[in-house]
Every structure is written in C-alpha cells, then in structure tokens.
Symmetry: C2
Subunit: 354 residues, 2 copies
DNA sequence: TGTTAGCACTCTATGATATTGAGTGCTAAC
DNA sequence: GTTAGCACTCAATATCATAGAGTGCTAACA
C-alpha cells in the first residue's frame, strides 16, 4: 500500500503519482481508450516497471482520480481526475505566434456591428477548437445609454433615438395625440440626458417610470410615448447566444451512441442551461474557467466539459465565451485559445463602444 | 404479370395498384418497418389475398415505386414511390379547428418585431411537426424603403432614419466635416423621398450612387455620409434562417446511426444549402411544396424530405418556411400545417408592414 | 384469365458458445 | 520499495444453430 491517504482527506499526491495521473489523462485525452500500465510505461518512456505503475494506479483509483470501466480493463480519469489535472497538472499550452496571428487577422476583418463580431467569433472558435462554440452577447447590464435624441418629425410625431455604449442606435417614431411643441421636446430631451445617461439599458423603462413625477406636466404625453419605445428594449436585449460547430461533436467517440449525442444537442438548444454552465465554469474553475461535469450529474450535462472565459468591455465583465465538448477534451490547448479569444472580443467590443 | 408497363413509360397505375402503394407508404410512414403482403391485407382490411398483394407489389417494384431491403424482406417505398404518393395519392389532412385555433393563439401573442415573429414561428413549427423547422427571413428584395427622415442634430451632425415596409426603423448618425445647413438637409430629404421611396433596401446604396449626379453640389458631402449608412444595410439583410427542433430528429429511427444524424446536422448548419432545398421543394413539388431526396443524391441530402411553403407579404412572395425530416414523413399532415403556418406568417408580416 | 393456397427457399435477427487478448491483482523474490 | 511471474477477469469477436417473417413460384380454382 502507498502512503495513507483516503478520498476524504485533501489529496496530496507525490511526484510519481502526479506524473502517472498526468500520463493517464494525457493518453486518454488523445486516444479515448482506457489506459493500461504497460501503455503508460511505453508511451511516456518511464524508468519504472509496469507492475509499479499498476500499484500507483490502484492507489489513484482508491483516491477517486481514476476508475476502471470493468474489472480487467485499463483506467480512465474520473471527473475528479480531470479536475485535478486541470487545476494542478496541466501546463497551459500557449498559442503559437502563427495561431495568434491567424486569430488577429480574422478579427481585423468585418467589424461593422456587434452581432457580426460575435457571430464571427463563434465561427472562429468552433473552427479552431473542433468543439461546439458558445458566444454570449454582452450583458444588458453592461449596455448603457450613451445619449438620447428626441427629434420632432412633422406635425405630431417624434423620433426617439438612443445610442448605447457599443454605438448601436435604437430608434422608434412615436405618434402623439396632439401637436408637438418643440420646447417640450427639448426640455424632455435634456431631462433624459441629464438623468439617465449611463443607465442600464435593460431597466431603463423602469428607471424612467420611477422618476416620472419629476417630469413637467406638459411633457407627460410625450414621455409616455417615449416609454413605449423603452419598454421594447429588454426583449431585444435578452441574452443571446451565438452557437456554432456542433456537428464536430459527432466526430468524438463519446458521442457515437445516439442517446449521448442527443443529450448534448438537446443541451445546445437550451440556451438558459448553457448560460448557467458558462457561469459555473468560471465559478468552479477557481479562476481557471473550466467546467467538468460530475459523474452523477443529470443526463444532458453528464459527460461534458466546458472551457469558458469572461470578456471585459471597458474593463468590466460583460459576458462569456466558451467551447463545449466531451469531458475528454484537450484542456491545455483550449484554455489558451478561449482566453485569448475572449481578450480579443473584449478589446474589439470596447473599441466598438468608443 | 400485370399489364405491360415499364419504368420508362409514364407510369399509370390502376386502382388496385394505387391502393396498395398507398397502403405500403402509409404503413411504412407510421412504423418505419418494411411492409409485407400479409401486413397490407391485415392492416387495411383488404378483400384480396396476400398472394395477390404480393403480385402487385412485385409489379410496383418493377415500376420503381417500391424496393426490397434484401431478397426476403418486406418492401419500402423508393424516392419515386414517395413522389407518386405525394403527387397523386395522399389526401392532405386538413388541420382540425383546435389545431388552427392553437396556431392562431400563438400568433396573436408577442408581435413587436419581425425577428421575434419569425423566431416564434420557427418554434411553433418545430413543436407541431416534430421535425426540424426552417424559417427564412423576408427577402431583401421584398424589403423596401417607406420613408426617409434626415434630421439635423446639433452643429454638424445629421440623423439618418429610414423606415422600411415592415416598420423597422434603421438609423445612423452621420458627422459632417463642416456645419450643416438646414436648407440642404431638407432638400436632400425631399430628393430621397421623391426618388427612392419603395426602392429595394438591399440595393439602395447602389441606386442612390447611380443618381448621385442629380444631387446638388452643396449636398454632396451630406449625401456621401448618408451613403455610408446605406452601405451597411445589405449585410444586415443577408438571408437569415431561424432553425429549431433539430434534436427531435434523433427520435427518428433513420437517424439512429450516427453517420446519418451527422449528415443532417451538418446540412442544418449550411444555410445556403438549406435555402436551395427550400426553393427546390417548391419547384419540384409542382405547386405542392414537397422535396424528396433522390436515392442517388449526394450524402448530406440523401434520405431527407422537406415540406415547404412560400409566404407572401403584400401579395408578393417574400420567403419560405418549411420542415425538414427523414424521407419517411407524415406528408399529409405536414403539408397542411406548413401551408397554414405560411399563410399566418405572411398575414402577420403584411400587417406589421402596414 | 385473374386469383388464391401451398410450399420451398432466402435472409435477418437472436442467442448460445468458444476463443483471443489486453489488463489487472497478488505473491514471492530481489 | 520494486519487480517478475502467473492466475484470473472480462470485453470483443467469431462461429454456429434456430426461429420467423416474407418472398417467388407452381398448380389448382372460379
């Protein structure tokens, strides 16, 4: 028996145990086959015998890092095994200069609007990761009013324009019941700009409504009509996801059985769950943004892994991007890829907002 | 042997042949199992013997409407068999009042914008058909300028507003190099409204550019800046598809093998191909909007069926909607469903445009 | 002449059985 | 503490036999 450790204790592995766990996870990530003791010794040129490796692997199994598919098979990592690997063993494999250049080149094209940028990012991520990509649109709470313009148009109509911090212009034409007085419009325009510049765009309508009392009597009708325009904003700003590359998951052996494939594709259609997963990834990962499903997770989430990263706009977290695939994922490559891409998205979104 | 017919001749089937083909297709559509002669007699209470049915089925095989999976199996329809069924045998199964009511109720909710309507339609279609749904956004050539508004904003800026026939307002704020003269803006505004009202929004920039010479010298700077806004339109109006319900395809036995499933999901990510398919459906169907893949179609399209229907906006065809599934589809139900939904989409889009 | 009963034949699906090989766990020797 | 050796386990694969659904053909029938 190896040193006295139990699954209950905080597991501290010695150098050889770490080396062997690392080897097993690496081997399994590339081959998707259970890893035997002889394989470890051969593939990684170890100076110890297969029998020794067997003993260590048996210990690692007791500690809950490895498991056997059946009594006489090689070992595969458990969810905890992956977790330990991601948290303590893997060395993030930085992108090569060529890869970085390629991503930068992609980003420097077509930058006209936020949607285009996000769609493009999703495409790029799916292509580079060979997994399904998820790109979340900037949070409504990070989208803020930069400027209002109320403009009289004709006799009894007013164009309501609103520019947000990403430079997107929202507009609506409100038709009044009575004639429009230029003075009123200007006054309301000033009021809005002075009081609600920088307001969260999602809750704008509510904010304005709360302070409706401060608006002069004669502007009320106009304000009411403007509110109708504001009311429509949150719906449009609902969390939107840009997904791509899901087909690639069919290449993975873990999705060769239809039930498994079906569950992932089901998950990919449930955007709420995906958003939760992205957040969990960043939370669970203890700074590193990797979510690994537990063995006992409910079907649909069971057996998958997510590498995610938040992106910042103007220095503040605005949303997440990530890739989703089987639990057996090349985390060390993907972590670098996702982080770098998140940086780029944040940078370009910030620029769009400037 | 039955009457002399060969696959080369235009196949005219007699009543009994039609009845049996109808029975085989119906049976196969519901069970997904090869259909034998005894099954036909039993399931459809026929007054002839299994042996007779066997003879007829053998003839239908010679005519290319049925085929055997192997020498001693029951028969399944060929692509031509489905085609004949859809074109000559099936009776479109009208929606029940309850079903129609339900669809109408769905449509009467949430109608704020075009995108919401289309997304909602796609969802509804997927749910009701148990297949993957495809909803195409109205064609750019059907989106037309209804009104321009150029509005001076502050010293040197002009808000460019454009309302299209769906009521969507596009806007941009153009910053001039010099000061803005109200007179110039009004003149250009009139010029645009007089000359380009009803212009296709996709090619608006080009149209304006062609007639740039007619614009007065002193409005040129302004017009150039407005053009920048127009240039951005076509990209946003690129053919967009709203897809939903793809996971449901996993329930179909034909997609139990991963390669098959993979091909359909691959197809669903290729929007160009999907659009082509929708058009083909309407073209092939000879008025009825059903596309049935040929046995020798290239992988990816092989083995699928599409029920599609064009929708009209203001009486003119503006786009397609449809459902995609295995070739073995309940066409008689889906045809009614898709047509009815297309009518509703057209009606509501027209109303939005009014 | 078209229809039917009967029968031999075909082919898949299913289950039982044996074989192979990768890999483990344990023991005894180093 | 490490290693060689060996018995043991189990999935994967192949082989074989059997059952059952369905056909095609022939001869009898209305």
């Amino acid at each position: 028996m190896a040193p006295k450790k139990t699954a209950a204790q905080k597991p501290m592995l010695d150098a050889r145990e770490r080396e062997i766990l690392h080897a097993v996870v690496n081997s399994y990530i590339t081959t998707a086959e259970p890893v035997g003791s002889r394989t470890v010794v051969k593939r990684f040129n170890m100076d110890i015998s297969a029998a020794t490796v067997r003993n260590v692997m048996s210990d690692l199994e007791d500690l809950g890092f490895l498991q056997q598919v059946h009594t006489s098979s090689g070992r595969v990592p458990t969810d905890n095994g992956y977790r330990y690997y991601v948290d303590h063993l893997m060395r993030i494999q930085e992108l090569t200069l060529t890869e970085r250049r390629r991503i930068e080149r992609e980003f420097s094209q077509k930058m006209e609007d936020v949607d285009g940028l996000l769609r493009h990012t999703s495409h790029l991520l799916a292509l580079a990761s060979h997994q399904a990509s998820i790109v979340e649109a900037p949070d409504a709470t990070q989208t803020r009013v930069q400027r209002f313009e109320l403009i009289p148009v004709g006799e009894n109509r007013v164009a309501v324009l609103m520019v947000d911090n990403f430079g997107t212009v929202r507009s609506m034409i409100a038709t009044m019941t009575g004639a429009v007085k230029t003075r009123q419009v200007e006054a309301l325009n000033n009021f809005l700009n002075q009081n609600f510049m920088g307001a969260e765009i999602g809750s704008l309508a509510d904010s304005v409504r709360i302070r409706l009392g401060e608006i002069l009597e004669e502007q009320r009708d106009l304000a009411q009509h403007a509110l109708e325009a504001f009311d429509m904003i949150p719906r449009r700003q609902e969390k939107r996801l840009f997904l791509e590359g899901a087909v690639q998951l069919f290449e993975q052996p873990e999705f060769q059985r239809v039930e498994q494939a079906r569950e992932v594709f089901g998950l990919l259609e449930e955007h709420d769950k995906l958003i939760t997963l992205l957040r969990k990834a960043v939370a669970d990962g203890d700074g590193r943004a990797v979510f690994i499903s537990k063995d006992d997770d409910k079907p649909g989430i069971e057996g998958i892994g997510v590498v995610a990263s938040a992106y910042n706009v103007d220095g503040k977290p605005a949303g997440f991007i990530g890739v989703l695939g089987p639990r057996r994922m090349p985390y060390s490559r993907l972590t670098a890829l996702v982080h770098y891409t998140a940086d780029m998205v944040g940078r370009f979104l910030t620029r769009l907002g400037g």
